[in-house]
């Protein structure tokens, strides 16, 4: 579904600030894969997502999405196939527009001069009620009035309105309180399951990374240092992960955020 071959990206090349964000990284996600990614800060997780979405162009390598070479495809054209959620719940929706209008844009139905139709509104209402947040009765309200959790759930709905080929979740529950985070995560699981969307999820919670999905990736210094799937992943514990990381990356995983969350 997603095939990345030998991509590299260096920021500020040739200056003292030179930062090799991704180094010769290859990754092959199969249809229906749900992979979690963990790694310390600056390991290149978000850079990887940016590269897949086309926020910048890579220095070398190729990216295929569903068999199509998208290495030089502009962001808005790739977006048709990619759903993406950020840590910041504010990034995915337009605050000055109503819930209904946001959803209509995401649904992308009809021509440029078409209005929002009745059956579309019904569909939005139905989808919103599935979130169980009471948003279906607030469709005319501006999105800016919603809480972070509500906005993140809405963004999730928007990015999966047309089921994407691949869903990129960049710590999308990290900024939410535990109860809301759980709710958004449950909705995420449901949506991914319903549409069989290939998913890549960054998390700092090691337990979550082990529990969710069928595949786990660990990143360090712009490379993937561990890739375990299915049976191998099932039997993994947090200690296994730490040990393997040390063997593969040649150093200990030095991130308090991750270690503290290991329960």
């Amino acid at each position: 579904m997603l095939r990345i071959e030998h991509i590299s990206k260096t920021f500020y090349a040739g200056t003292v600030n030179e930062k090799r964000a991704i180094e010769d990284l290859s990754l092959h996600l199969f249809p229906g894969d749900f992979a979690t990614i963990i790694g310390s800060n600056g390991a290149g997780k978000s850079t990887l997502f940016n590269a897949v979405c086309g926020d910048f162009q890579t220095d070398s390598g190729t990216i295929w999405l569903d068999g199509e070479d998208v290495t030089f495809t502009p962001v808005h054209e790739r977006a048709r196939q990619i759903g993406r959620l950020f840590q910041d719940p504010m990034r995915g929706s337009a605050p000055g527009m109503s819930i209904e209008e946001n959803l209509a844009l995401a649904a992308g139905k009809g021509g440029w001069f078409s209005h929002i139709k009745k059956d579309e509104k019904e569909l939005f209402r139905e989808k919103l009620s599935q979130l169980g947040m009471g948003l279906e009765d607030r469709m005319k309200q501006p999105v800016g009035l919603l809480s972070g959790g509500q906005r993140q759930a809405l963004t999730l709905l928007m990015s999966t309105m047309i089921p994407p080929k691949i869903l990129l979740l960049d710590e999308h529950t990290a900024a939410l309180d535990p109860a809301t985070a759980k709710k958004v995560l449950d909705i995420t699981k449901q949506v991914v399951e319903d549409h069989h969307i290939t998913t890549l999820m960054v998390t700092h919670n090691m337990q979550q990374a082990l529990e969710m999905g069928n595949r786990i990736l660990m990143m360090d210094s712009g490379r993937i240092v561990l890739d375990a799937r299915d049976e191998e992943k099932k039997h993994m514990t947090a200690d296994d992960l730490l040990q393997q990381f040390q063997e593969n990356a040649g150093k200990r995983l030095d991130n308090d955020r991750i270690l503290l969350r290991k329960q």
Partner: protein, 312 residues
């Protein structure tokens, strides 16, 4: 002052308010919706006026309106192209186009900086003939201006509710989200500026035809005046549906003109108009900012007075 004099003063203010409100609606689209401060507005206003005048003088009063709007679309396209494709800063793009338009406008007027339309058939002289035997006799400017503004409001609000309109509003709100909805923000910015500048040019065209002449400085300071009207309108109807807000900015424009007319009666010299509009824009923009800083400022002064003993 007699009643009839007051009425005629009020009518003039109303007419000017309505004609300029088309520019305010243009800024409503570019400034409030698209979040682009289009500084080519002055030049585009004059462009609409001069193109409209030249076409009208050549004997096509109806065509003059469409020609002016088309010229506005071109001007808007250039501004948008500069800021989306050529890497020119948004504000700078407007200023550059504005400067360039000065030469273009004089060229359009055949090298002169003033055109006279005293004997020209315009939409207003045609309207005068049509309305001659109705109760609306001699109110042709008002009638045509009302019709135009109503038409533009209807078109604009309908447009902003279409998918393209929603995308334009989202571009000013959160361009990231527009991109992730598979829409190119460059496209929406371009369309938005083209439409906005068409309205600005229409506004200039109607003004020049209603006052039967066009000079090269007809548009100078229009962006500030329109911004002032927009902000006045926002204080009355800043929230609510697009309908309400669009009508609000037209009211803002009319109120601005009425206040100005009263100020003139109170012996304020006419040349003060632009200073007044500048001050209104400053107050409307920095007022909320200063108000939000006031509590801290107040606390700091108290702190200094009491030497840190807050409750002293």
């Amino acid at each position: 002052m007699s009643v009839s004099a007051i009425l005629s003063l009020g009518q003039t203010a109303l007419e000017l308010g309505l004609i300029y409100s088309l520019t305010v609606l243009a800024l409503f689209l570019s400034y409030s919706m698209l979040n682009v401060c289009d500084l080519s507005t002055d030049g585009c206003f004059t462009l609409g006026a001069s193109v409209g005048a030249v076409v009208a003088i050549s004997g096509h009063p109806f065509l003059s309106i469409f020609a002016a709007m088309l010229a506005g679309v071109c001007s808007g396209f250039v501004t948008a192209f500069l800021q989306t494709r050529m890497g020119v800063e948004s504000l700078l793009a407007g200023i550059i186009v504005n400067t360039g338009l000065y030469s273009v406008n004089i060229a359009v007027m055949g090298g002169s900086s003033l055109l006279n339309m005293n004997k020209t058939t315009t939409v207003f002289t045609m309207g005068k003939n049509v309305l001659a035997s109705t109760p609306w006799k001699d109110k042709q400017v008002l009638v045509i201006a009302v019709l135009m503004v109503a038409l533009v409001i209807v078109l604009l609000t309908c447009f902003l509710r279409t998918r393209l309109g929603l995308a334009i509003r989202a571009t000013g709100n959160n361009p990231d989200m527009v991109r992730s909805s598979s829409i190119n923000p460059i496209f929406t910015t371009t369309v938005g500026l083209c439409v906005a500048n068409a309205f600005t040019a229409l506004s200039g065209c109607l003004l020049s035809q209603s006052q039967k002449s066009v000079s090269i400085d007809i548009g100078s300071g229009v962006v500030t005046i329109a911004l002032a009207s927009l902000l006045i309108g926002n204080t009355f109807m800043g929230k609510g549906s697009i309908w309400k807000r669009a009508i609000g900015v037209v009211l803002g424009s009319i109120i601005f003109r009425l206040v100005y007319a009263v100020a003139l009666r109170l012996n304020m010299p006419a040349f003060m108009l632009k200073l007044v509009s500048s001050i209104i824009v400053i107050m409307a923009i920095s007022g909320p900012y200063l108000r939000s800083r006031w509590p801290q400022l107040n606390r700091r002064m108290r702190h200094r007075r009491t030497g840190g003993r807050e409750n002293a």
